[in-house]
């Protein structure tokens, strides 16, 4: 599978990152099998979070077995120094590893949060101490929210080495600033910050829960995903062709193999074909940034 430099981290990530939230929906044996399956395709970048149910615990056994093959991303929604330290310790324990390669501020949504994490008692102080102690190697940030806020974060956090944000044809086809994640991609590229794409496979928002309860949704994603193999392939190719370092799979395990296949076969997408995908999705509603879930 193609690899690309993750900004200045020195790590070359595969063009697909395994979003380990998929493990949350499996029993341990199935989780083990899925991790082996993902590794068989050559994927070398995994991403997990304490908010993904028990995905950290289920990733643990195979992560420890294959620790050298996996660049491990994890994250915290804590915004304070104390909280970030507490969550980092907890994730290290639950994963059963001595170090997390990329530790990320998770789900930045509001200006106040950015002020808080960058303050003296903010989470980033804890991140930097953890880095000095060798518990993490790199600092990143994720957001499903306002692209302008991510741009501010890129400008204000000098040691930021990766950003994770939504990118798909629906948002690329819209001109309003609230969908302008392309500006985030461009600024990150300028600053040589790695870029991780989420929601590449978003087909739209789910109906309200009173119309379709979460338990009845056919896929365990925050959004309604595209599901046909040719659509999955097209969405993967589109996202990878925008220049992201890596594209993260949709969170439902039923979709992972199709995305692995698309990633393994990725060989670019020309501009006319990219425009074709945008044109088809141009009038669709976007599940981001309105639907702010992690």
């Amino acid at each position: 599978m193609e690899t690309r430099p993750l900004g200045d981290t020195g790590h070359d990530s595969t063009v697909m990152t395994f979003g380990a939230i998929a493990l949350n929906w499996l029993e341990q044996e199935g989780a083990n099998q899925l991790v082996e399956h993902v590794l068989d395709y050559g994927v070398n970048h995994f991403d997990v979070a304490p908010t993904y149910g028990d995905a950290e615990l289920k990733l643990g056994p195979k992560l420890r077995q294959h620790r050298e093959e996996i660049f491990l991303g994890c994250k915290t929604q804590e915004r304070t120094y104390e909280g970030a330290w507490r969550k980092l310790d907890r994730s290290l324990n639950r994963l059963g590893v001595e170090k997390i390669d990329l530790y990320q501020v998770h789900g930045l949504e509001y200006d106040e949060e950015l002020n808080e994490i960058t303050g003296d008692d903010g989470a980033l102080t804890a991140f930097r101490e953890a880095k000095e102690q060798g518990l993490i190697d790199h600092i990143g940030l994720t957001s499903h929210g306002d692209p302008g806020l991510i741009l501010d974060a890129l400008d204000r956090i000098d040691d930021l080495e990766s950003v994770m944000f939504p990118l798909n044809p629906v948002v690329v086809g819209k001109d309003d600033d609230e969908y302008d994640y392309e500006a985030v991609l461009a600024r990150a590229d300028e600053k040589n910050v790695g870029t991780l794409g989420i929601k590449a496979f978003a087909g739209g928002s789910w109906p309200p829960t009173d119309e379709l309860p979460e338990a009845d949704r056919p896929f365990a994603n925050w959004y309604r995903p595209v599901t046909a193999p040719d659509e999955i392939r097209e969405r993967f190719d589109f996202a990878a062709a925008q220049g992201l370092t890596s594209v993260i799979n949709a969170g439902d395990p039923k979709l992972v193999t199709m995305i692995l296949e698309a990633a393994a076969d990725y060989d670019g997408m020309d501009e006319a074909a990219q425009r074709s995908v945008i044109e088809r999705a141009r009038h669709d509603d976007s599940p981001v940034p309105e639907q702010l879930h992690h």
Binding site: G173, K174, D175, D176, D270, E271, A272, A273, R275, S276, V277, I278, E279, R280, R282, H283
Partner: protein
């Protein structure tokens, strides 16, 4: 105001800022939106369809554009820079040599050869010396394209009802030579879409159009064409096939 990527791509190497522009055949005003966003001094959106004229006006009015797009200079409100003219493209109500840039975005395919000739003559008349012309359209569909069958039915209904085809897909090479024959110097060609996404709403709109014209046809032929069009639309759903191209020309200075 969302400007489709096709329009943005077709205009991105054209000098729009500060120019007097003409959108020939404003449908929903996509090229008009692109021209205003790129800093056109004035845009004349010409259409003979009242609904299209209304849509274009409303779209620009609703955008609340402040005219600061393009080069960042204040060019006044978008609506103040737009004139929607309800007129036939074969008789454009503008003086000779009065526009600097013309777009024909997805227009040629609805002009039969005779109409295309008349329109090309009129576009050439209103173009100022040194003016630019951007022609965006579709290559003929490849054999086996399902949507091609629907277009064939639409054309058959149109021929019976109005004695002319509804759609003519001119190859890029043909329009290149054609406009050269009207004293336009070829500048460049680029592919805008490949494949072209014919969405469910496109397919449904063409089926409606075919059925509407079939209703004007006498007897059983009309009924059969209408039923075929509806059936094909259901069967096709949506299809991505074919190529949309952009040609750019320059009027000798």
């Amino acid at each position: 105001m969302d400007v489709p990527d096709t329009v943005a791509t077709a205009l991105d190497d054209r000098p729009v800022t500060g120019r007097r522009c003409l959108e020939a055949g404003a449908g929903v005003g996509n090229a008009t939106a692109g021209l205003l966003a790129n800093g056109a001094d004035r845009v004349y959106a010409v259409t003979n369809d009242r609904d299209h004229a209304r849509t274009t006006r409303r779209r620009v009015a609703d955008s609340g554009g402040d005219g600061s797009g393009g080069d960042g200079t204040d060019r006044g409100n978008d609506a103040d820079r737009l004139a929607v003219l309800e007129a036939d493209l074969r008789s454009i109500p503008l003086p000779d040599g009065s526009v600097d840039l013309i777009t024909a975005h997805g227009v040629c395919n609805v002009l039969d050869p005779a109409a295309l000739t008349a329109v090309a003559e009129e576009l050439s008349r209103v173009a100022a010396p040194g003016a630019h012309l951007v022609v965006d359209d579709y290559d003929p569909l490849p054999d086996g394209a399902a949507i091609g069958e629907l277009f064939a039915v639409e054309n058959a209904a149109s021929e019976l009802a109005r004695c002319r085809p509804a759609l003519t897909f001119y190859p890029a090479a043909f329009l290149r030579r054609f406009f050269a024959g009207h004293n336009w110097e070829f500048d460049r060609e680029r592919t805008l879409l490949e494949p072209v996404p014919w969405t469910e709403s496109h397919v449904s709109a063409h089926a409606d159009e075919a059925a509407s014209m079939a209703a004007e046809c006498p007897g059983e032929a009309g009924d059969a064409l209408s039923a075929t069009a509806r059936g094909l639309a259901t069967e096709i759903g949506s299809e991505s096939v074919g190529r949309m191209y952009s040609l750019a020309f320059r009027r000798p200075g």
